[in-house]
Subunit: 427 residues, 2 copies
């Protein structure tokens, strides 16, 4: 056994168990998997033992919607209308990003992610090779896609960089258990039916889900209905996009028919509460979606509209917002929010993670409950979701390896040099 | 000169200056005040010099509505309806709190506050002596009141513990520049007109403002209108409560007439966004209040309904919420939010703090901008409000003294022992 957590408190997020919080537990890890989970010490010796009654182990958090390299544009433009944000600030700066920039930004973003307890990302961006190679260095689980955009209805889609880049990653990381490429459509307003059908065909062939932005803004919703006569989700459905496994980011303006369609076709809605507020897109009524049986995961979106990658913030905000808009304090409980960031994210990515049980991926976040801000502890779940932030993470384990531990990263990246590169590379 | 910050970046929050961010600045501190603020090094030697181009100095944050000892009940009850929260969980537990508990809880809460950059609290609770003595040990600025509650209209108000406790603190800390007692009315629904007039008289005599909960919930609003024919604010105004200086916490349901009354009578509204969402009270339309000239400060409320004392979270949420509910990303800017937590809080408490300029109280929070989560930096204000959290605070200065520095507290309190006392004392 490579690694053993002994005498720790565990939030297994496993609804087949009676208890939500288990004390004095052991978690044994071997070959990237949870090899043992129980109250007694396993017979086998462990290469390393980590213990402490103040350590609370939760499944690693899954950031189900990110644009990691946008960390490069953190704080570059806030408090301005969406159009100005996009066309005057984000797009012009993004156009100047080099592969080196994107690699450096990916490293920085991924270090922030693992240091705040995130173990997997569902990412959408360009220049995938620069991103994937960063994930390999950092040791984070990464499912990524270059999402198709095409404004020219006559484009030869076979040459669209989305397919080419996705295939490149799929081929290059064929043997990686951490890095996978998905399929992607940016959104209904940045392409057209023939393109969606082509992505759907690609997904049928490679068996991976399609990642797509859906109903992020009112304008998107209204324009789509005007152009196609149906909502973005229903429009995509007409072209089979929902039939091959679909991860739909944002979903702020779902209609009742959309919600039913999500449930029926098993589409995951990825709620990005901070970004939706920051860009004044609106507030997705996710407690309704969940009640109606839709799988709802959580994401930070890009750091340019967040401006953090701390999934603890998203959990707290997701719960608070639903309570506030529904005037119902039971709308999304702390446990529901933690589930969104673990179990539901894993379901979206078809990952054998998100719970702590034998046979699952050893993707874990370990919190230090001896911190002042987590004292006292009446309810471990409430403290994790409502009191903790990413800085309370003491240790992050991905694929059985400790990638982060009390401020130090296992990858050995020179942080000072990286920070300087990102700072000097500002656009 | 006792303390000199050299070569630091400063966000002075001083609207008389042209620039919002000043680099390579010096701040000299003597006898609790900012004695020098300028680009050149002061001639005088300093007892201690702190420097670093990555240090960003902001005015210390002012938590304008807290119930500090409620840290003892952090996480004790969440995700339940307000009535159940209050009557089944909070009140029964509060009834069991001893003076020792309240002192320990105050210490813990104040340590959390100073370690996350808060330098002043406007607190409302019971057993003031246990709270004030904690503030003295920790070295935090504390304005507190035992807010009057009285359900018996025949009560001899002269013996109400609110007056007695407030006077005790006023007398005992007569010479303290950190600890002041205010006047307080809990809320319109927990007392009656004769009591309000008595508090108003007390305030006229001692010259300190009245701290009161106003329009926190719809039920409060509706019941007050039913009983008195006017909103809580207008009802209090009829008895002169707004004429002696008033700090009104929550203000979720202000009418247009209320807003005008707030402005006219110079009443501060203390916005508590996390608590208002957590308890499903609603969302105060504070961008409207600000536009109409009302002074809006920020508070965490008690940790039982937050469940943190991190004012960085409140700033971010205050800005995000207003953008989200108004669908206007310019509603509350990062600068506006930082102003709420500094300048506006100081105005509410009549403190010579909240800005960085010569002659002001040396109450400062120093952030470490070399953290991954604050890189890159396009805009210091955006990074402070949208990317930072309390854990990015490297140093906190109150009344010219460094009370917190990179995880260590100047007061020398045994944290392990304190944590154990709070944990063992759970009710």
């Amino acid at each position: 056994m490579e690694l053993l957590f002994r005498n720790v408190t565990v939030l297994p997020m496993d609804d087949t168990l009676e208890e939500r919080v288990l004390r004095n537990m052991c978690i044994g890890i071997d070959k990237g998997k949870i090899a043992y989970f129980g109250a007694y010490e396993p017979g086998e010796n462990a290469g390393r033992v980590v213990e402490g009654e103040n350590l609370v182990v939760i499944p690693g958090l899954i950031n189900a919607h990110s644009h990691i390299p946008m960390i490069l544009l953190r704080g570059s433009s806030n408090d301005v209308p969406l159009e100005e944000w996009l066309f005057e600030h984000i797009f012009p700066r993004e156009a100047k990003l080099t592969g080196e920039d994107i690699h450096a930004g990916s490293l920085l973003g991924m270090l922030e992610a693992i240091s705040t307890g995130t173990t997997a990302l569902c990412d959408m961006y360009m220049n995938l090779d620069a991103i994937a190679s960063a994930a390999e260095k950092v040791g984070i689980r990464l499912h990524l896609t270059n999402a198709l955009t095409s404004f020219d209805e006559n484009e030869n889609l076979e040459e669209n960089r989305s397919f080419l880049q996705n295939r490149l990653i799929r081929e290059k990381y064929r043997d990686s258990c951490l890095i996978k490429s998905l399929n992607g459509i940016h959104a209904v307003y940045t392409s057209y039916p023939r393109a969606w059908e082509r992505v759907r065909k690609e997904a049928e062939e490679n068996g991976k889900p399609i990642n797509v932005h859906v109903s992020e803004t009112k304008t998107e919703q209204e324009n789509c209905i005007e152009k196609y006569g149906t909502t973005p989700l229903q429009t995509l459905d007409r072209y089979g996009v929902l039939d091959v496994g679909c991860i739909a980011a944002h979903c702020v303006y779902l209609t009742d028919e959309d919600i039913e369609l999500m449930r029926e076709k098993n589409v995951t809605a990825v709620h990005c509460p901070t970004s939706n507020l920051m860009l004044a897109s609106g507030i997705a009524d996710v407690s309704k979606y969940i009640k109606r049986g839709v799988n709802v995961a959580l994401g930070t979106d890009g750091a340019a509209s967040n401006n953090s990658l701390d999934m603890f913030e998203e959990m707290k905000l997701a719960s608070l917002l639903q309570k506030g808009i529904s005037l119902d304090p039971t709308a999304i409980s702390a446990y529901d929010a933690l589930k969104m960031a673990t179990v539901n994210g894993a379901k979206a990515l078809r990952l054998n993670s998100g719970v702590i049980k034998e046979g699952c991926n050893a993707d874990l976040a370990v919190l230090d409950f001896s911190r002042i801000g987590l004292t006292p502890c009446y309810d471990h779940v409430a403290n994790v979701v409502y009191s903790a932030n990413g800085s309370d993470v003491a240790m992050t384990v991905i694929d059985g390896k400790i990638v982060y531990e009390y401020g130090r990263f296992a990858c050995g990246i020179d942080i000072g040099k990286l920070r300087k590169a990102v700072e000097d590379g500002k656009k």
